[in-house]
Symmetry: C2
Subunit: 231 residues, 2 copies
DNA sequence: TTATTCATGTCGAAC
DNA sequence: GTTCGACGTGAATAA
């Protein structure tokens, strides 16, 4: 990993065209050749970048650039597309390289899969007499998160999202439409479950007869650990 | 901006829980207090991070951590949420700080708005005899990108995306459903226009009688500049 | 402020 | 390799 603090201008050409005027920035060159251009603020997203696979070539500036004070030009070319990043360096304030080795990677917890497991385990969160049929119930257009049975024995398709938005309702609607064509399954009703449901998504869901349920992740986890404690 | 190369472990707690085992990484502390943890590969996305507004406090390790070789602990706390990042530093290989100043920011070109303007200007790309009614035609659930008239005088709602995916078809479908309830507008047909259309989106659109059109950005731009050159 | 949509999205997993 | 959906999505823009 190479760290360069430099006064530079940057141009990107690819899926769009973008330009960064002359200013002092961090240029980060990773072992795989990828380049990030960071300012001293904003978010984790660089001002400009090139993703791997790519190759970085440091070349002499042409006459015109040299006359404008450019010391060096970095041409970063993506290996599989026409995306190209060009960094014109006017002044270098810092330039070091470091050996980091391969990173062991991130361990995550708390995402949709976990929500699905918790709700499947505690399906009675939806009401007394509910039972789990199966998780990841396969249909022609993909798996429904949970297939359950309500107290009256009716089939219920449950779509789980961390954030309940309109596209989740559309997804569940497509599943329901398909499943209700199957004589062996129908009638199938829907439940849209999420940690938070946007008003527009709720309106659309309820308009289509889909029940909306807000899940409390900590509470579901709490049920889990309190039950575990009993045994 | 502070650049630290350190052997460290990192824990994030917030919208999810994540852990990074001990390894050598770049720790980037920006002027606003935000922290990025980068490995020497992957993409522009850090392994872990804290977005502003946040505060970073460097504290002494507790006895247990110290016994495991921790020299220093960074507690990074988000100002408006419970999100917290904790970096346990075992060894520092590099530590420098740099003044960068405020960045003038990025200048972009070539996004959806531009596509919309180009297609509106060259609506006959869709066929001879087509005419523009208006851009951003307002409906109760939001603006339709372009409302046009086909050679037979029929109203056409056009949805433009850079990449045509299923949610764009759903969006257009909702517009069409709504507009076809209006006696003053109906019948309204649909065109789904994008620089590239995913097969699944195309299938869904055509199944619903929506015409799919692939836009060539460079060609549209070319028409533009060649016309300009004539006058 | 909230709500919605865009993104050079990125990323991972199924197919 | 391609397609698909999730993301600590983030960021900008409109309401």
């Amino acid at each position: 990993m190479r760290l360069v603090i430099a006064t530079c201008s940057v141009d990107y050409e690819g899926r769009l065209t973008a330009h960064l005027p002359l200013a002092t920035r961090l240029l980060l060159v990773k072992a795989d050749g990828s380049v990030l251009v960071h300012s001293d603020g904003g978010s984790y997203k660089p001002l400009n970048w090139m993703s791997p696979p790519c190759a970085m070539a440091e070349v002499e500036p042409d006459e015109e650039d040299a006359a404008e004070g450019v010391l060096s030009v970095w041409n970063v070319q993506h290996a599989k597309s026409e995306d190209r990043l060009r960094v014109k360096i006017h002044e270098v304030h810092h330039d070091t390289a470091h050996e980091l080795g391969v990173d062991p990677g991130l361990v995550k917890d708390g995402v949709e899969a976990h929500l699905q497991a918790l709700l499947a385990e505690h399906i009675t969160t939806l009401g007394d007499g509910w039972s789990l049929v199966r998780r990841e119930f396969m249909t022609a257009i993909g798996p429904v998160d949970i297939l359950a049975r309500d107290p009256k024995g009716g089939s219920v398709a449950i779509e789980i999202k961390r954030r309940g938005e309109i596209d989740g309702v559309e997804q569940l609607t497509r599943y329901l439409e398909l499943m209700n064509r199957d004589p062996a399954l129908r009638p199938v009703t829907g439940v849209f479950a999420a940690q938070a449901i946007k008003p527009q998504a709720r309106t659309l869901a309820e308009d289509r007869g889909i029940r909306c349920v807000v899940l409390d992740y900590d509470q579901l986890k709490g049920i889990d650990s309190s039950e575990t404690r009993l045994f």
